[in-house]
């Protein structure tokens, strides 16, 4: 059998440590696994649909595109696994506590800082949330983008952090971020405790998943891959440091009903069309 080949986006050097470690573990389980690194999610998804790789460790936005490309080409695409820490996340729109802006309506005519153009959590979801609440981005308020790591779908935290810093520096009136980063920025002092107010919070959504094209591999191989992922135990000292690096305690079976909000946001903001073509302006990974 040829190696089961998974794609991963190299958003950080630790990606090599993580997947080298997992590769060694898979091979010890007698599963011939290898991985390929990509510099951006768009090419990874295109290669997945083209049958160049069997699986892709995908951002939520990459999942949305893979699903659309799959639908358009009549290729089945599924999510077989996800991190326990990737379920039911929310994004926030926060203001300075002393700014007097305490509602979404208060953002009218103001400047809202977002993450990179392709960040689901710090750009697409919060902007779509504001739009649904009646404030059209670019019309009812100005969008100030902090483009760090374009093509990485917001995996690089830099854009979110820059937006948070700009908020505290008074350069923007609001900043968008994922809930976990609000706590992280509070802990590290970027957002001093008590200095911000949450004026909007999106509904719950899911983050990354392990996307596969079942038809690309021999019978049973995808199932074996998924079963092995789900069998990784945080009790196992060999994989625990890798799970810590990857930021999970346990792999859950994949579910795809947590991407509805992002599908809506992608449509509303015109990021991809229904066939999965990139339609966003000024997006070049």
């Amino acid at each position: 059998m040829e190696s089961f080949l998974m794609g991963a986006v190299a958003y950080d050097p630790k990606v090599v440590t993580i997947w080298d470690g997992f590769r060694a573990w898979f091979r010890e389980q007698d599963f011939d696994f290898d991985y390929l690194l990509y510099s951006n999610y768009e090419r990874q998804v295109e290669d997945l649909l083209a049958g160049q790789i069997h699986a892709a460790w995908n951002s939520p936005l990459a999942w949305v595109r893979a699903r659309r490309l799959g639908d358009a080409a009549d290729i089945e695409v599924t999510a077989v696994a996800m991190r326990d820490t990737d379920r039911d996340l929310t994004s926030l729109v926060v203001t300075r506590a002393d700014s007097g802006i305490e509602t979404v309506e208060g953002l009218r005519g103001k400047v809202v800082g977002v993450g990179a153009v392709d960040s689901p959590q710090a750009t697409l979801l919060p902007l779509a949330h504001l739009a649904a609440a009646g404030l059209e981005p670019g019309t009812d308020f100005e969008v100030r983008r902090f483009d760090v790591g374009v093509g990485l779908h917001g995996d690089h935290v830099g854009g979110e952090r820059d937006a948070a810093r700009a908020l505290m520096a008074g350069e923007v009136d609001a900043a968008c971020m994922i809930d976990g980063n609000h706590l992280a920025f509070t802990n590290e002092g970027t957002l001093p405790s008590g200095a911000t107010t949450v004026v909007a919070r999106t509904g719950a959504y899911d983050h990354c998943n392990m996307t596969v094209v079942p038809a690309a591999a021999e019978d049973g191989v995808v199932e074996r891959f998924a079963a092995l992922l789900l069998s990784m135990s945080y009790d196992d000292p060999q994989v625990r440091p890798l799970l810590d690096l990857e930021g999970l305690h346990v792999w859950h079976a994949g579910r795809v009903d947590g991407y509805r909000l992002l599908e809506d946001a992608v449509d509303r903001l015109g990021f991809y069309d229904t066939a999965g073509r990139v339609t966003a302006d000024a997006y070049r990974p």
């Binding site: 820490t85 809930d179 706590l183 405790s193 949450v198 625990r240």
Partner: protein, 395 residues
């Protein structure tokens, strides 16, 4: 169980109280957490997710209360963890596992992680029971070169005698540099479990660094250029750098080399022509005595459990002798300088006395080596023969 964080936010340390309280409930059981920080619910939910705990609204009307369900991840870290031995040196493992690595002796070591390689990981290859005491002595006996030496004391001997002092200092510096580098090279290869050995070697390196400093400063005290560094001297020292075995190195460098230096430094302390020379020799002598004591005690420890090592040690002395057979040994200039230094004056009578002192020094050095080898279990005859094979360069 329930706790109240009051105004304390999770982002300001509130998570410590939650984590502490969770240790009191079983995985799967719940803890009610109340708080009044504006971000209380948002941050507690987020923190629980990153820690693998469940978190849900408390129900009822109390919006300030959440129910946390303890997960299994926080306790997983301790499963399979092992103690890195006893914290004291009283019951040392013969060969601590490499997995303990850089962990403190006695620490609880989480299973997994890197397995660093420490070549010197066997107790009997590095240890001596005197090591903890020697380390304590070494630390309390540290001295400051700036204040421990009377640098302003008068130097009123003839120029020829001062030239001799400078030549001897030049020779001492290169010897001390080797005595610094050899333990420094071993230092990073000793398993940190044997922490007293690592600490003692570290202080030993620091000792030699000070010796290099004070001998250099003494050499330059009267503004002269430094003396000659001979090929023979450096060839002899280079063989010490090449020795890969810790115990063999302890014999060649500490017992025989630094042991011989004890007599040389005592000689300089006694016959040094000025207070500065006497002081730097006295200070170095006290340090070197500890270095010799460690080498001697380590070899006695190892030979007690591995008497056949004596053959290896004998072979090492013979091998070094053979390697140095074609070198000139002690630089004539150094020998002559010792004579002039001990003479203290540039007269036939004084030179005769200085020469006699150096003859006496060489006899004492040979006797000292023989005595130390005898304590390592070599017969009197073997000890004398091996002592005679020691490098003519002293170190």
């Amino acid at each position: 169980m329930r706790i109240d964080l009051d105004e304390l936010g999770i982002g300001r340390g509130g998570h410590l109280l939650v984590a502490h309280a969770l240790r009191g409930v079983e995985p799967g059981a719940t803890l009610e957490v109340t708080g009044r920080d504006p971000m209380f619910a948002l941050h507690l939910e987020t923190w629980c997710r990153t820690q693998g705990h469940g978190c849900a609204p408390g129900g009822g009307d109390d919006a300030d209360t959440l129910v946390v369900t303890r997960g299994t991840a926080d306790s997983a870290r301790l499963r399979g963890a092992s103690r890195a031995g006893d914290v004291t040196a009283a019951h040392l493992e013969a060969r601590p596992p490499a997995e303990w690595g850089l962990a403190a002796r006695g620490a609880l070591v989480e299973a997994g992680g890197p397995i660093p390689h420490f070549a010197l990981d066997e107790r009997d290859h590095v240890w001596a029971d005197i090591v903890p005491r020697l380390y304590a002595q070494a630390v309390s006996a540290q001295w400051d070169p700036a204040t421990a030496v009377p640098w302003d004391a008068p130097i009123d001997h003839p120029d020829e005698v001062e030239d001799a002092v400078v030549q001897v200092m030049t020779y001492l510096i290169e010897n001390e540099q080797v005595a610094l580098m050899v333990p420094a090279r071993f230092l990073g290869t000793v398993h940190p479990y044997f922490r007293e050995v690592v600490q003692l070697l570290a202080v030993q390196v620091a000792d030699e660094a000070r010796h290099v400093e004070v001998f250099t400063r003494r050499a330059r005290l009267t503004g002269r250029e430094l003396g000659l560094s001979s090929i023979g001297g450096r060839a002899s020292l280079a063989t010490l750098l090449d020795e890969p075995d810790f115990s063999v190195s302890a014999l060649l460098l500490s017992v025989l080399g630094e042991g011989t230096f004890l007599d040389l430094l005592a000689f300089l302390m006694t016959y040094g022509p000025d207070p500065v020379t006497q002081a730097v020799a006295r200070l170095a002598l006290a340090d070197e005595a500890r270095h010799v004591a460690f080498g001697q005690a380590h070899l006695e420890h190892r030979l007690a459990v591995e008497p056949q090592l004596r053959t290896t040690l004998r072979a090492a002395v013979e091998r070094r002798h053979d390697a140095l057979r074609d070198t000139a040994g002690l630089n004539d200039l150094v020998f002559d300088a010792l004579v002039v230094l001990a003479a203290g004056a540039w007269t036939p009578e004084a030179i005769a006395i200085g020469h006699a002192h150096v003859m006496e020094l060489q006899r004492e050095m040979a006797e000292g080596r023989t005595r130390r080898l005898g304590r390592l279990g070599f017969t009197a005859e073997e000890a004398a023969a091996l002592a005679a094979l020691h490098t003519r360069n002293f170190m």
